[in-house]
Chain length 283, copies 2
């Protein structure tokens, strides 16, 4: 069995970006600076991992790719809004992202707050344009629960409020909510839009959650390689475990993700290859 | 015909606040400070005008009040998120609202950004819990269009970017998007949730839009009475018209709002009385 992941990812990235391009306000739309800043935030690169997972979940569930396209865009718009707000001076105070100025650095703080706000709104609007309207209420509730005050925002609050020595509890909480909740939602939105049975949705959720945890551990391991001494102390899993333990943890959660793909009705080769590929970055 | 508006408003306010109380995270929910700050933002007073309009529209359309309750809460949560973000130091830099410290003044800037974000998410989640799921896609798209980058946020962007002398064009744009779009959406959400026909929805939209414009003119007239000389120049209609002209404009838009309520199948007495009451504040 050979699966050309590199080619698959390039094709899916193009597909997602074409859709994102179409759902953003056209350049020049009044107010012109808002349209420009929203496009800068969304179209300045990124691997499009979450929307690609969303589309892959629809196919793994035996559903149609096209049915999950609005959900895939919604998850990327939602993710982008969190990055725009996380970069603000009152949060992480970052001026660069992917080699480009962050939204607040280029357009000012007030505009960055409003761009993030507008991208969140657009995420829900896009989600509500899913081709099967009968699943819209479920999709909106899924995304809102993952993104809101009991999901991503809960993780971000505990992250910024963190002071002192990290504990296993706080690491688990922030990993779950700040990262894994959105990976899990990406997978679940795709699966629901693709018509997954409750049973298959459950298995795909296990994949999404484990992949999200693995992603964050791998991210911490990669960050440790290039850490600067003047960085503020961060909630990294390496504060509570050795590198060897973190490697083992990443391997274990990746294996759990892949194992949960057994017996699904659709093509699971892409989701399997993606999990292997993420892990390979630290091995 | 006597309609006891004062009693009606008090009853509806209680109804809306009971629902809002129930959909917010309970005090103590982790992260506790987020729950506390979200509750502070939403439960610190306010006339609840937009949700009351939403419920009134459902009834004017001949529908059931209960069907519009989630939409009513959603519109108030959405409105509250915009206030929390508008108060931020990088926007209006306000430390007091309704005699209470603003969210950023009490909980810090980062928390205020996240509280606003979480309230927007909760607005869409609440809306998706409408009892008639078949209208959910329409409701979500309506609210998103009114609230997003072509609605309230467009108005706010042009407001904060405004410099120099106000023109009729910029005043009309900001009045329409920053204020009237959400009044119109409040009415439309209630009408749709209440099962309004397309024809009646159209008439109610005219009411909502005119009432929103009237509300903003009246707000400008009331502000002018208590303006401080050190306030930054603002986009008030009094910059382009006399007080007499503004009074006439408020009267005219209020009359247009009330006229559009003719021939609706439900009880229009509350919406009529509300429009008269708002206008009476400046006469």
């Amino acid at each position: 069995m050979t699966f050309d992941l590199k080619n698959y990812l390039a094709e899916r990235k193009t597909l997602v970006e074409t859709e994102l391009f179409a759902c953003l306000p056209a350049e020049g739309t009044r107010p012109a600076e808002l349209a420009s800043a929203m496009r800068h935030a969304v179209l300045s690169g990124g691997k499009r991992l979450r929307p690609i997972l969303c589309l892959g979940a629809a196919e793994a569930a035996g559903g149609k790719l096209e049915h999950a396209l609005p959900a895939a865009c919604a998850i990327e718009l939602l993710h982008t809004y969190t990055l725009v707000h996380d970069d603000l001076p009152c949060m992480d105070n970052d001026t660069l992202r992917r080699g480009q100025p962050t939204v607040w650095a280029k357009y000012g703080e007030a505009m960055a707050v409003l761009v993030g706000d507008a991208l969140q709104t657009l995420a829900f609007e896009t989600l509500a344009r899913t081709p099967c309207p009968s699943v819209t209420p479920r999709l909106v509730i899924e995304l809102a629960k993952a993104a809101g005050g009991a999901g991503v925002i809960a993780g971000q609050v505990e992250d910024i409020q963190f002071a002192g020595s990290p504990t296993r509890d706080i690491i688990d909480y922030v990993f779950q909510h700040k990262t894994a909740d959105l990976f899990r939602a990406a997978i679940r939105l795709g699966a629901i839009a693709g018509g997954a049975s409750d049973h298959n949705l459950q298995h795909l959720s296990v994949y999404g959650n484990n992949l999200g945890i693995a992603f964050q551990i791998i991210d911490d391991l990669l960050d440790a390689k290039q850490a600067c001494s003047d960085d503020k102390p961060e909630l990294t899993c390496l504060a509570i475990m050795s590198k060897e333990e973190a490697h083992a943890y990443a391997k274990e959660t990746t294996a759990a993700a892949i194992a949960s793909l057994k017996n699904l009705p659709g093509n699971t080769a892409p989701l399997t290859a993606l999990a292997h590929e993420l892990l390979s970055r630290v091995f």
